[in-house]
Amino acid sequence: MSSSIEEFPMRTSTLQVIAATSLALAAGTFAASAYAGKTLDAVKQRDQVVCGVNTGLAGFSAADSQGNWVGLDVDICKAIAAAVLGDAKKVKWVPLNAQQRFTALQSGEVDILSRNTTFTLTRDASLGLFMTAVTYYDGQGFIVPKKSKITSAKQLKNAEICVQSGTTTEKNLTDYFKSINVKMKPVVFEGFEASVKAFFAGRCQAYTTDASGLASIRNKEAPKPDDYLILPELISKEPLGPMVRRGDDEWFTIVKWAIYALLEAEEYGLTQANVDQMKSSTEPPIQRMLGTTEDTGKLLGLDKEWAYREIKAVGNYGEIFERNVGPQSALKLPRGLNNLWNKGGLQYAPPIR
């Protein structure tokens, strides 16, 4: 599935956009009101969460050698499946490229889009989609071959810069170089793989995407990771997180709080390993979260152990981060902005009560 998308980027995406569009037409024709508030019912009925993920971005969502999907974005979907269906394995993965993702969600092909997607006003206000919560605070950066002796983005005068289409990246790139009054030439590829391949083949003098993506491709795609340098400038804010369809407030709320619960769990020291013991804790916030006293799940349309199952299945946010992208993982990304609010970062969950 993913390999066919990589090899035939043009065909799959345009076809899928068309297919998804016509699907939207057809769905609308036959069941004009089938979308409101029905996602949870549909998920329960088919006993599966359909989750749109990246076709392959190491650390965020990529299939491992056994064909299992792993990564930060993947774990979010697993957590939701655990909360809603009681089993983190009950997820159907739909790998989507940058162009297909919104249409796939709009047309109902996926229940949730967990695919390193930046939240912006245009996307929130005009696509018929809702942003839920930020799962990774990112920023756009550049990678260059060390041989070029470039150490700052400001030196990229007249450079050709490889970039993937269908992302906020293209626009940020133009904005940034316009603001520092430097000319450059974008070389735009439809497929992520094609753009990365062209850069490492030497077609462009620089490659740009989110800093996390740069670390991922340097680690996974570069012939020799040490030959490449990630420039210090971050030229944009890229808050990444899952999106859901508009018009289904219950589902929106579930996804949002499923993510908050992972953050709360870290804040209160609940981990995959100790969550069973913590059930006997007498701290009120922990009791509420694990459903030993209050039933917070009822308000969400779930049972009282929803958060417990999430933590049991994938661990808290910190564990998810460490496992997939953190300093101990292959990507070696610092926690930085993604640390909890009380540890110098931006991750702040509203209280579960």
Binding site: P9, M10, A20, A32, K178, F189
Partner: protein, 365 residues
């Protein structure tokens, strides 16, 4: 008719209604908003502050550039190979057959990706170490840079001279043809006409003060800038499309020539025409009637296949449309524009070819 119209109306109405209910904004108003993205290559200057419709025009110009160059090269290459398939020389015939069988049986997308990989291969250095085989020419993974004349008044005069040359050449051909019909003296038609047109351009250039200023590309620490440039993306697209489509055109040309009965060849021989003359004066004109309709199809295919350019990073119409689609979320509108443009391009090509076909068809007298 009424049923079809009603069905179309129902679908359109339903789509809009559903999009409205789901909060998906629609409409073509976005075309007037600033695009906000840069485009790597363009036939005319484009700035990211200009509106989306202009970005679409840039995409269209890039599509047309690839398609037109492709069509011209395909016709030449295809005709040569088609004739080569009928050659009496075993080697030429075998090579041409091999070419056709090889290239028409490999999917065109694979061929595009192959050429792009070749052009990005390690045999070329990165742009910062561009090869410099001739003064003013740079070769690297970023393509080929070459000097272009700086625009001066004199070039305008030169162009005018060229235009006058073409008119004179056309008059010459008309005179030569009528002289041939009256007296039977066959004068050469092609070379003098070409000479006249070129002489016109040369005279115009001299009259305009013979401007020689060239904008030379310069290599710097990072890459090569200035001058004109052909990018590997453009090369991969035109090369791939040309080589692929030429294999079909070759077959069309071969079948067209073979459709002319053997008696015509013998008759031409009996009149004392050489083989080249027989081909040019007797066989090709008759073969054209068979060739043109399927050739039109190939031109249409080539134009439509140019939409695969996006796979190798060439900023064609599809590429621009994809970027726009993602920035504005107007999927239905962008796909509609794409379909309308390709439909128009195809209909225009077909109309031109039909006109040419009508001209070269047998006139019953």
């Amino acid at each position: 008719m009424a049923v079809i119209a009603a069905a179309i109306w129902f679908l359109a109405h339903n789509t809009l209604e559903n999009m409205r209910v789901r909060g998906i904004q629609s409409g073509f108003g976005f075309l007037a908003q600033p695009a906000g993205f840069d485009i790597g290559e363009s036939a005319f200057a484009f700035d990211s502050g200009e509106p989306y419709w202009k970005a679409f025009l840039v995409g269209l110009s890039n599509t047309l550039r690839a398609a037109l160059v492709g069509i011209v090269l395909t016709t030449i290459l295809g005709t040569l190979i088609g004739i080569g398939r009928l050659s009496r020389n075993f080697l030429v015939r075998g090579l041409c057959t091999g070419y056709v069988e090889l290239f028409r049986n490999i999917p065109v997308l694979i061929q595009l990706l192959m050429w792009y990989t070749v052009l990005n291969g390690d045999w070329l250095p990165p742009a910062s170490e561009a090869l410099h085989p001739l003064p003013g020419i740079f070769l690297s993974k970023s393509g080929m840079s070459f000097p272009v004349p700086e625009w001066e008044q004199g070039h305008g005069v030169s162009l005018a001279g060229f235009a006058i040359g073409i008119v004179v050449a056309w008059l010459y051909r008309r005179w030569a043809r009528s002289a041939f019909e009256k007296t039977g003296v066959a004068r050469p038609m092609v070379w003098p006409a070409l000479l006249i047109a070129c002489a016109g351009a040369l005279l115009g250039w001299l009259a305009g003060g013979a401007p020689t200023a060239l904008e030379m590309p310069v290599r710097n620490d990072l890459n090569v800038s200035g001058g004109g440039a052909v990018t590997p993306e453009f090369l991969a697209v035109t090369l791939g499309l040309t080589i692929y489509t030429a294999s079909f055109v070759a077959e069309i040309v071969r079948s067209g020539i073979q459709s002319v009965s053997w008696g015509q060849t013998e008759a031409a021989g009996a009149l004392g025409l050489s083989r080249a003359q027989a081909l040019k004066l007797v066989l090709l004109p008759q073969a054209l009637r068979v060739i043109i309709p399927p050739l039109t199809n190939q031109y249409l295919n080539l134009t439509k296949n140019s939409s695969l350019a996006v796979a190798v990073g060439y900023p064609d119409l599809v590429s621009i449309s994809n970027t726009t689609l993602n920035q504005t979320g107007r999927a239905v509108e962008c796909i509609t524009i794409l379909m309308a443009v390709y439909l128009t391009l195809s209909l225009v090509t077909a109309a031109l070819m039909n006109w040419y076909n009508a001209r070269s068809a047998i006139r019953e007298r």
